[in-house]
């Protein structure tokens, strides 16, 4: 786990060399590559009448060998600490962001929340200076990364909003790339409509809930 953090730091440093810079007009880089559960599921044991017994055991997440997961995310063997070369997937290549590897700082970019129009993932001109502020901080702190949270108002169906929130986060990521930040330092997560900033069912609430928030990530 510790090695992973070191790797990240090294990776981010490499990421910042000119050779790795992205050209602004290229399509956005795919997110760091996948690690997936490959296991199929087996036929359930026939249960007795009304038997869903044992389902509470589902609260413990286990992998195929019964080992608890969650404690070692991204630190698995697929992601050896071997040397990373320019052009490799750089950064958290073990799958989704592993929060155990970071301290999260939500205060740093509290004033940089970007807002979106209804049903839109377009970064408005009025919001670009906030992104520039995020980019500036990342440029002066090349060992840090950021997570962009995409959020939606309640006026959309749930899974539609989960996609829309992701598109908002990806749009912010792309904007940061245009400002010279390697996309591999930028993680995205969509909360759809599940985490409104404010309660309420009117335009005032909705306009404040359609947003992208930035969380500064510091390797532990």
């Amino acid at each position: 786990m510790f090695a992973k953090a070191l790797t990240l730091t090294a990776a981010l440093a490499i990421a910042f060399t000119p050779g790795c810079r992205r050209k602004p007009k290229e399509p956005i880089t795919p997110l760091p590559s996948a690690r997936t559960g490959q296991q199929g599921i087996t036929n359930p044991r026939p249960g007795g009448p009304g038997d869903l017994s044992g389902t509470d055991a589902g609260r413990g997440l286990t992998d195929s060998s019964g080992r608890p997961i969650g404690s070692d995310l991204g630190a698995g063997g697929q992601n050896g600490a071997g040397g990373i070369k320019p052009g490799d997937n750089i950064g958290l290549d073990g799958g989704p962001l592993d929060r155990t590897q970071f301290n999260e700082d939500r205060a740093q970019f509290a004033a940089n929340v970007v807002y979106f129009d209804f049903d839109s993932a377009v970064i408005k001109t009025s919001e670009k200076s906030k992104l520039a502020g995020v980019a500036e901080h990342l440029k002066t702190n090349p060992n840090l990364a950021v997570e962009v949270e995409g959020h939606c108002d309640e006026r959309g169906t749930e899974e539609y909003n989960r996609s829309l929130g992701e598109r908002r986060a990806l749009a912010a990521r792309e904007e940061l790339a245009l400002l010279g930040i390697d996309p591999k330092r930028v993680y995205t997560i969509s909360y759809g409509e599940d985490r409104p900033a404010v309660d309420g069912h009117n335009e005032d609430a909705w306009s404040r809930n359609r947003r992208g928030e930035f969380v500064l990530l510091t390797p532990r």
């Binding site: 956005i28 795919p30 997110l31 590559s33 996948a34 690690r35 997936t36 559960g37 490959q38 296991q39 199929g40 599921i41 087996t42 359930p44 044991r45 249960g47 007795g48 009448p49 009304g50 869903l52 017994s53 044992g54 389902t55 509470d56 055991a57 589902g58 609260r59 997440l61 286990t62 195929s64 997961i69 969650g70 995310l73 958290l92 989704p96 962001l97 592993d98 929060r99 993932a121 309640e154 006026r155 959309g156 169906t157 749930e158 899974e159 539609y160 989960r162 996609s163 992701e166 598109r167 990806l170 993680y187 995205t188 997560i189 969509s190 909360y191 759809g192 599940d194 985490r195 409104p196």
Partner: protein, 393 residues
């Protein structure tokens, strides 16, 4: 569609075993009902006589959801007369006094016996009962935290099957198995998990970077459609059930959501913004060009679900912040608006739909909708706000 996609042996053996219900004995009498009558827009006038308490409530609920209307004996086309003493008994007669069904039920709880009787009544009337089926759904417990529940189709016997203390979403049954796929943020990212309800164990199914959500299993249980954003945009992918063979089916920057399968497993219907506002598209499950589904008279279509008989797609439209459940022929065409609600899913009978309805203050309740008669019945409210139902079928 052919029933081959849904092995009848499963529904019967596993679900009836699960519910502890009696296996049907030979029904008495002959079915002399004009089947055309059952399935039209007019509810069937039915009198239910002689029951009490929970059995009475469950019977009436089941029969109304199935398209009957509870009336007095004088107005009834059919009369269900019986009792619930030591066991639930019922005799169904038509207006001429002909007995269409006569049975006693002694296995399972009185409630289960009532459901079994209701299904037999609907069968005797020429329909397909759903009173012994199950659903799964999510409930928001506190803001930003939800859990997955499994319950009888009427919301009773609800059991919480996750304790993630995180956002969970988009549960879906694996056809023919006591197992669900769903999305959970438990590990800090929206990931798809597969949860075996028999053993209680679960495993990650897709934990790729970015969004992993909206899993939908093919009717034969062999493939999974899902929305992933690992390549830079939330798009439609399909893999085998063991997670191998991941294929990207769409490649657009505008974003996709909510895939579902045709009953023959050849086609996936989903929502996309490729051509502007969200609407429904179909794409061959083996890959190929996506085609826009013609929706006459509806905008902002999302959340499609393909009926098990293959004929009809139910989906959500949205205008001015209002959500409506609509149907369209599977080949596209004229849209019929049915009722307020969202995220509709078909029951195994291709007639009943369950959806989520906004009941004010952002709280959602689950609601059953009989499509031909448009009768609706809300499920008893569980904790918090419940949505994203999925029907075991």
């Amino acid at each position: 569609m052919s029933s081959g996609n849904f092995p009848p042996s499963f529904t019967r053996r596993q679900w009836l075993a699960l519910c502890g219900a009696a296996l049907p004995a030979a029904a008495l009498g002959q079915n002399r009902i004009d089947i055309e009558k059952f399935g039209g827009p007019a509810p069937i006038p039915l009198a239910v006589v002689g029951y009490s308490g929970e059995v009475n409530d469950a019977l009436r609920f089941d029969l109304e959801v199935a398209g009957c209307k509870m009336v007095g004996e004088s107005e009834a086309s059919f009369v269900l007369n019986g009792s619930n003493g030591a066991q639930v008994e019922g005799r169904l007669r038509d207006r001429a006094g002909t007995t269409l069904l006569g049975r006693a039920y002694n296995r399972g709880t009185p409630r289960q016996q009532a459901h079994a009787l209701a299904d037999d009544v609907i069968k005797a009337l020429g329909g397909q009962g759903i009173a012994q089926t199950r659903i799964a759904f999510k409930c928001e417990v506190t803001q930003g935290k939800s859990e997955i529940y499994v319950a009888d189709y009427d919301g009773h016997d609800a059991r919480k099957i996750t304790s993630d203390g995180a956002i969970v979403a988009a549960p879906t049954w694996i056809p023919g198995k006591l197992a669900l796929l769903y999305t959970s943020y438990r590990l800090g990212n929206p990931d798809i998990f597969v949860h075996d309800l028999g053993s209680g164990s679960r495993r990650p199914f897709s934990r790729r970077a970015g969004l992993n959500t909206s899993a939908a299993v093919s009717p034969d249980g062999q493939r999974v459609a899902m929305i992933l954003s690992k390549d830079g945009s939330p798009n439609l992918y399909v893999s085998r059930m063991d997670g191998s063979g991941l294929t990207r089916l769409t490649d657009n920057r505008q974003g996709d959501s909510s895939p579902c399968w045709s009953p023959d497993g050849d086609t996936i219907c989903f929502s996309s913004r490729t051509g502007g506002p969200s609407t429904l598209y179909t794409v061959p499950a083996s890959g190929g060009p996506a085609r826009r589904l013609r929706l006459v008279g509806a905008s902002n279509g999302t959340e499609p679900d393909w009926s098990p008989d293959g004929k009809t797609i139910v989906f959500t439209t949205q205008s001015g912040g209002r959500f409506e459940v609509c149907v369209v022929p599977a080949g596209g065409g004229e849209v019929t608006r049915l009722a307020p609600g969202e995220d509709p899913v078909w029951a195994p009978n291709s007639r009943t739909v369950i959806c989520a309805r906004r009941a004010g203050s952002g709280v959602r309740v689950l609601s059953l909708l009989d499509v031909p008669t448009r009768q609706t019945k809300d499920l008893p409210r569980l904790t918090g706000s419940c949505s994203q139902p999925t029907w075991a079928r």
